[in-house]
Symmetry: C2
Subunit: 448 residues, 2 copies
């Protein structure tokens, strides 16, 4: 890993060149590099925490003058209990993952002695832009090396000292391994981002990890594909046959487990017939957790019959297009005449195609709902918060994608891979086949 002072073009070209070496290294060499990074970071704990303390000092001043929010302060602080150890454990966790490189997923005998094979391979060079949390750099470097991708990293300026310290340690650790130093580079200046986003001849994929603004910016500016999602405007639709208890549990968890997360619910759609039966219990549980409810007139009237609360408000149209990321929930009534189809229409029109959920006792209704919505994740009777790479069992999460190509939903290491075809022949030419000539066999072969 190098803390690069090179121009963006030089850095990107160096990354591209080193990516070809990285792509040819065996599993053992990549895992050895992860071990080396782990041990070096463990040994350098004091100097890294000292650098982090300098970031924190500056950040506290900014916070005091109101330039920085308190939540960012918390994110920067690497000395909080367990955080450094979690960072180290994260590297070990990535190390333990199955090697994603060279997995054969198709083998076909085109003809005698003409064997086609498709296998996974790294994408090449990743540009990963993230925000203030200093431990993210170790996580991302690990994911890149594990997946044999070169990576250019740009972290938030609030953690510059921490990033520099960590990258210096990683750089020294890599020097004793087969992983080329240029395959992981840290850029520290904001100015470098725009030129990097244009270097599609060297950089194959951009992964912004952070705010909506950051992702939208990359999506607009990048000349290469961007993996991610700008918005997480998730819905839950409570159907007429929903169990009140299940509705309470799922909605409360989806809204309050971690309101700032992209997979938290933002709009609740409620079938007209259960406004009086299911909704009041849901509303009461939410209000008890401090959630403000912004309701259309019908749902508000139904709730108001049971509960008096300052947290009961009128919704405006804008609320149904807003990702609150806070303890606020928009509620809308779905007329019984249109039922599921109106819920589908609302979600496809107002949603962000991230995660949407139905609560119903009927599999038929759930399937109709899931077929109709255009979402990466379609949930039935469970919290939207389960949309997550770790919870899905991927071992790690590179991000959550709402793209319609390559990777969609929670993305594990698989999302950092593409495939290549290898064809092994014995002198064949295409002109030998066809009219009057040889015929292709196209015989599927076992993968091992």
């Amino acid at each position: 890993m190098s803390l690069t002072n090179a121009s963006p073009e030089q850095a990107a070209r160096a990354a591209k060149i080193s990516s070809r070496t990285l792509a040819t290294l065996p599993t053992s060499a990549r895992n050895a590099a992860l071990d080396a990074i782990h041990d070096a970071l463990a040994a350098a704990r004091d100097e890294i925490l000292a650098a982090n303390a300098r970031d924190l000092e500056l950040a506290k001043k900014s916070a005091a003058s109101g330039e920085l929010s308190g939540s960012i302060l918390k994110r920067i602080d690497l000395s909080r209990k367990g955080k450094f150890d979690d960072m180290l454990q994260g590297i070990k966790d990535v190390l333990e993952l199955e090697d994603p490189v060279g997995r054969v997923d198709l083998r076909t005998e085109l003809d005698d002695g003409l064997i086609l094979q498709r296998q996974t391979c790294p994408i090449g060079v990743l540009l990963i832009i993230f925000e203030a949390r200093p431990e993210v750099i170790a996580n991302i470097a690990s994911l890149a090396i594990k997946s044999a991708n070169a990576a250019i990293l740009k972290g938030g300026k609030e953690s510059t000292e921490s990033f520099k310290a960590i990258s210096t340690v990683i750089s020294k650790a890599l020097a004793s391994t087969e992983v080329p130093n240029d395959s992981i580079q840290l850029v520290t200046t904001r100015d470098a981002v725009d030129p990097l986003l244009e270097l599609s001849q060297y950089i194959d994929l951009v992964i912004p990890r952070g705010s909506n603004e950051l992702v939208s910016y990359c999506q607009k500016k990048a000349h290469m594909p961007v993996l991610g999602h700008a918005d997480g405007l998730c819905h839950i639709y409570i159907h007429s046959d929903a169990s009140p208890e299940m509705a309470v549990n799922v909605v409360v968890d989806s809204k309050t487990d971690y309101p700032a997360a992209c997979n938290s619910v933002e709009t609740l759609l409620v079938h007209e017939e259960v406004l009086e039966t299911v909704l009041p219990a849901v509303a009461e549980a939410l209000i008890n957790k401090g959630v403000t409810l912004r309701c259309d007139s019908q749902s508000k009237a139904a709730i108001a019959k049971h509960i008096k609360s300052d947290l009961l408000e009128d919704a405006s149209d804008k609320d149904y297009n807003t990702e609150f990321l806070d303890l606020i929930l928009a509620i809308r009534t779905i007329p019984s005449s249109a039922a599921v189809d109106e819920a589908i229409h609302h979600i496809n029109t107002h949603g962000s195609h991230h995660t949407d959920c139905i609560i119903t006792a009927s599999k038929q209704v759930a399937d109709h709902f899931s077929n109709g919505i255009d979402s990466a994740c379609k949930f039935w009777n469970c919290s939207t918060r389960f949309c997550d790479g770790m919870r899905f069992g991927f071992g790690t999460e590179v991000g959550i994608s709402t793209n319609k190509v390559h990777a969609r939903g929670p993305v594990g290491l698989e999302g950092l891979m593409i495939h290549e075809y290898r064809l092994e022949g014995s002198g064949q030419g295409a002109a030998m086949y066809g009219d009057g000539g040889r015929q292709y066999k196209h015989k599927k072969l076992s993968l091992t």
Copy 2:
């Protein structure tokens, strides 16, 4: 299918809306639509050929005045022997393909009664831009319907009358099926392309099928992903242990089977040690087929000892960066000191990451070469011309991609699909799991 006079935005929005209906149709409904299209086109043969004759009439005038090449004339002509029947058969072939929608490729028990499933689904709305061959419209409409994607089609202006006639027939045929008419739309004005390329809120993927210029244009202008390749600058490297006979067969086929194709070889790299032993036979066979050889001084001298020919020329630097698409081949000597690594370096620097081949008797050398090159297709001892969806056994070819994400190499129906996650629960919330709570099982389930 509608021949749309709507604005690009109206057309794209209508396509997006209809794509949700299309996505929910069962296999049988999509196949019935393909049958209906097939039968309607067969019944309308005379009126379509009459429209095609009008295109041909105009094209002949343009050809006479030198505005249009003779090869385009040939491509427009749908009345050539077998062409119309091939178009009809193509629809049946697509119909017979396995349904790509709803294939489950991951099932995991996250916990008791919390089952995750990943399954394939259509991408949504495709924008497909193609050139003059009128039969392509039927092929593309079939692929879109089979894969449950809506599509906006824009064909080359030389075949406008043919496209209009075919799309009118398809439109009438679809009216009696469950496939929404707006799911396949034809736009006929060149002006519509630029605005369409910006409508990323409605259009999910652009597939340009045609010249390098067309693909490059789309790659530069499109706000959504583009599937394809601008260049096909393919290489063959003849290693020191190559069999002369195999080298002759593979190189001649790669260059002369269809020189205008993207998978034809453009540069031949020859190990220094076989300049006198293998190269002369290869050169002679190529010259006998009328191929001009543009050589560096070493390879030219070696060939000139055996053959005198006007087709033997000096290469300039530019020749090693040129996709000739013609009976021209650049030849360069690889010094024995660097051997395979120099060939790899040349290919990664000058190539287009499409298809590159090595001729060698050694599996170890072939693997080293294939690991080192950054190409979608890595061939060993066989013609580069095998890089093709039909030859690979995919049943069809949507295009050949040199992208590093989503689809790479020859792309079949699979390239028109993405996946979605479905999670079926029984009231679970994420807060139930973790410290002191329940643990995830992450048990892999069988796919059926």
